[in-house]
Symmetry: C2
Subunit: 553 residues, 2 copies
């Protein structure tokens, strides 16, 4: 692959247009359809997944340590897959050496490799969907979309930003400074993109691909080597990803150690050893605020891009579609059992109730409306499973059980009927007073708080304060008063929480679309970086200059 | 100032073109000429400076604490100027409040204010030159150029990058997702630039304006408020700067506390209190590596942009202009008495000598050639003062004296004859072996080491290793072998040190031109940021989104 092929160039050009336009665009079809992916694609994906179970994962990278792997499907079986390990210093040395060569590969070639890898990952979307489903617990359709095409779109978006930033730097220029009547001073200068070196990408258990692809592909395009450190319970999706990228690298004649997998298991964690290494030059992290603080504390001046956690608010001030609002909120609370970083947790309702198309509704009636919508959405077990998926971590079930006592139960959490193997839980809804401490902390999983406030403006104030103090990745508002909407827009902008207004149909506050939605602002404790903006790529490389007097004409 | 006036728009457009072209360009004339700045400008600048001495500096900002100010001119007199102080919490609260309003001002208006401020600072270049000369010790001509127009160019460059980055983000878009045969999902989205909040800009004693203007103007343009914390020995140039910007802000109807001065004196330092404050959202720092490490350790996930220090190497492998090389190096070592962050310190020469246009020269002969060129350059006291200026800090003289024993003296440092008031020192040149530790640490001031190496490639290796370990802001090479030049280009690119090759004329390795040279790469310990590239501005703001279903057509 000596340059951007005819196949990839149009994709790149279009992607660069779209990051500036930021309307709707997607390069990878989100429908798991045989017409698009091939009539046998679904079956091939299942077979491919089954073939990986209960044996060592075929990853040809530096090894020699004890293999690791304790993944268990939240749907009730052990994956039985093991992954190679090696001493971090050895893996880092391999990545560093590969990175030194990769840094000298022209940016155009690096981008071509990235685009080819994304194409192959897209082709493997059904396999990846199975891997994501049986590590995260997502339903198949979500695992396919969020784990496959949507993650690939985020990867492409990062490549586009990287290319845009790198192409803004000229390769060679003549610098000619006038000297009045004397001949000008003339220097020839060459500028060379120099990546930082080795990046560490720390993945999470709930969206192993979606939350890592921006970083992985930003690193790949800008010339950094990457050590991918997956969450010990969600290794497989990133192992497949690393394997695909390594295959494309090798096929194009490059050292595959430009990307390596650093798997571990919960008893023998390796993250700290990588993070504190002098051989790691930048860090991307998705995970808890507690570990996020550790990552930030170890930055040592290195670029650190984090997505941590937040308490996402909804302010309910009024609506002209009460049914639409309740249905939309029920879906937002239920999708993947509230395990999305974008799921709402704190719902603010005026104590005096709200005006709606169905007349005045008391605060209690609002809670009942949402509870009824939840019951309706989740009444049929099969449909419930398609929405809820399974619960990734047993600790989440414990958290849901413990939340029961934190307020007045408006709706109780329950397992999905007939699911004896999968870990499941429908959303709990708890009514609390604004003075309560219960709603102020993140309660990860299917738990939401209905918080009574004196009026909508106080709800906005509390919600924005909470975003500033505890972080928020989304905010949502239902209101018919345009002046109130403007005030909310100001308040949430200052608090760094993207605001969705009056969602009553097929769009959920949870959804963040590549090429359009800026995911995480970096302006509140929910994270330090945005997926994806210019800041996400520009600090992954710098420019080295050589200047010398121009040869006399 | 409701928008970019006809006066400023062409400057901005040209500056944005130039940051992509990166050839020669300057917006502010560097010649301290009456024809450009007005026939009385020089005299007005001197009078203006004299009028400021021995009284409180007229800065109308929150005050109430004991005034501070202990500045002393390295040319031998106390400035006697005091500056207002107030509790850091009070100053930060004022900056925060002003910043909240400034954040809502349209980017175009913010940029207009920045450009108007730069224009007025340019008009005050002679006053600023006096202030810079009598705090830093720079000669008048350098104080004028580096402290005035060159600093202003760096400020404009930062505004151009900020504008370029902000204009890439659309204000409002329609997002329309096809749904097959069903009507599309349609959202209207608005994107709003949201600055981080309050920036702390920590200045240095040697280039108070040049090293701070990029940060100050990047903050101003991107909507951040700024607390300017000058070095206690170089307050005046930044006090004048802050005053000018505040005047422009007020004149345009904005809260002047968008920029405030946090002066202190050596006995009562305030930097730590600002740096650790929760009300500081980003930090720019220029200064020592030791304090740089403290700044980086306190980042807490906040963006931190530093320029620290380095050991800048020169590898002497051969030349076709021995006289030109020695003269150029003598100038580089002498300019501002080696107090430039870009000045060379370690000169590597093959033990077997080099080939030149004057025949073979032994390593000793190379040292003697440079020493003779120094003697010639600095023989006349008046000319010497114009090149050397004065020594900013008495500790530098002690360091020069102590360096005497670190190797074989090739050329001794000495005061400039007839200067009984100014602190002066010509460069010392010491010959050492490559195994010596003496040359490996920064020895700030007029001291250079001539280091004997087995051959030029070993010199390149040692120099690049040193850059990686101790930092380097510049590197220089004299060579006639193009293959060797290529190897050096690779080695210094990897070490993040911009390389100048075969400078024998009017261009010095010390010089870094705005709009063309990337100053500091962030790839070695000399700093974390570049003046100026996209990474310098893009992380100073983020984007807040409001999205809502489009009204039915």
């Amino acid at each position: 692959m000596s340059a951007l092929s005819d196949e990839h160039r149009p994709t790149l050009d279009r992607a660069v247009e779209e990051i500036r336009r930021r309307g709707y665009w997607s390069a990878y079809p989100e429908m798991p359809s045989g017409k698009i992916y091939g009539e046998t694609a679904k079956e091939d994906g299942e077979k491919g997944f089954a073939a990986l179970l209960n044996q060592p994962f075929p990853l040809d990278q530096p090894a020699g340590g004890d293999p690791v792997g304790r993944e268990e499907s939240p749907y009730g079986f052990a994956l039985g897959i093991t992954y190679p390990t090696v001493a971090p210093a050895t893996l880092l040395a391999a990545a560093k050496a590969a990175g030194a060569a990769w840094a000298r590969v022209p940016a155009e070639e690096r981008v071509a490799v990235a685009l080819e890898a994304l194409k192959r990952l897209n082709r493997d979307s059904f396999l990846i969907a199975n891997a994501v489903q049986h590590t995260t617990g997502q339903s198949f359709i979500m695992a396919f979309q969020a784990g496959g095409p949507h993650a690939q779109d985020r990867g492409l978006e990062a490549v586009a930003y990287a290319w845009d930033a790198m192409s803004a730097i000229p390769g060679a220029v003549r610098w000619e400074k006038p000297q009045g009547k004397n001949p000008p001073l003339v220097l020839d200068k060459t500028f060379r993109i120099v990546p930082r070196g080795v990046g560490l990408v720390i993945g999470c258990a709930t969206f192993p691909t979606w939350n890592s692809y921006s970083a992985i592909f930003a690193n790949l395009a800008t010339g950094n080597a990457t050590v991918v450190k997956p969450h010990p319970m969600a290794i497989l999706p990133l192992a497949i990803t690393v394997k695909v990228i390594r295959d494309v690298l090798s096929g194009a004649g490059h050292d595959p150690n430009v990307i390596v997998l650093a798997a571990d298991d919960p008893e023998r964690p390796v993250t700290m050893e990588y993070m504190t290494s002098e051989d790691v030059d930048l860090i991307d992290f998705t995970g808890s605020a507690a570990f996020g603080a550790t990552v930030r504390a170890h930055a040592r001046g290195r670029p650190v891009f984090t997505e941590e956690a937040g308490v996402n608010p909804v302010v309910i001030a009024g609506t002209d579609s009460f049914r639409g609002m309740c249905g939309n909120l029920a879906m937002s609370l239920s999708l993947y059992s509230g395990q999305m970083c974008t799921a709402p947790q704190s719902l603010f309702v005026p104590a005096g109730g709200i005006e709606t198309d169905e007349g005045h509704k008391s605060a209690e009636a609002v809670g009942e409306g949402i509870a009824r919508a939840l019951d309706k959405l989740l009444g049929d077990p099969e449909r419930a499973m398609a929405v809820l998926g399974a619960v990734q971590n047993p600790a989440t079930l414990e958290r849901v059980a413990a939340a029961r006592d934190k307020g007045r139960l408006v709706r109780e959490s329950a397992p999905v009927q007939g699911q004896d193997k999968a870990r499941t839980a429908t959303p709990a809804l708890l009514a609390v007073d604004a003075a309560s401490e219960a709603w102020r902390e993140e309660c990860f999983g299917p738990v939401a708080f209905l918080i009574t406030v004196p009026d909508a403006d106080e709800g906005i104030r509390l919600a924005a304060d909470s975003a500033r103090e505890k972080g928020a990745i989304t905010a949502s508002l239902y209101a018919t008063d345009e002046a109130l909407i403007d005030r909310a827009a100001d308040a949430f902008a200052r608090a760094g929480a993207p605001l969705s207004v009056n969602l009553t149909g097929g769009i959920l506050v949870n959804q963040s679309a590549a090429f359009s939605d800026y995911h995480v602002t970096g302006l509140n404790p929910a994270g330090t970086a945005t997926l994806t903006d210019a800041a996400f790529v520009t600090n992954r490389f710098s420019v080295a200059t050589v200047r010398r007097p121009a040869a006399a004409a």
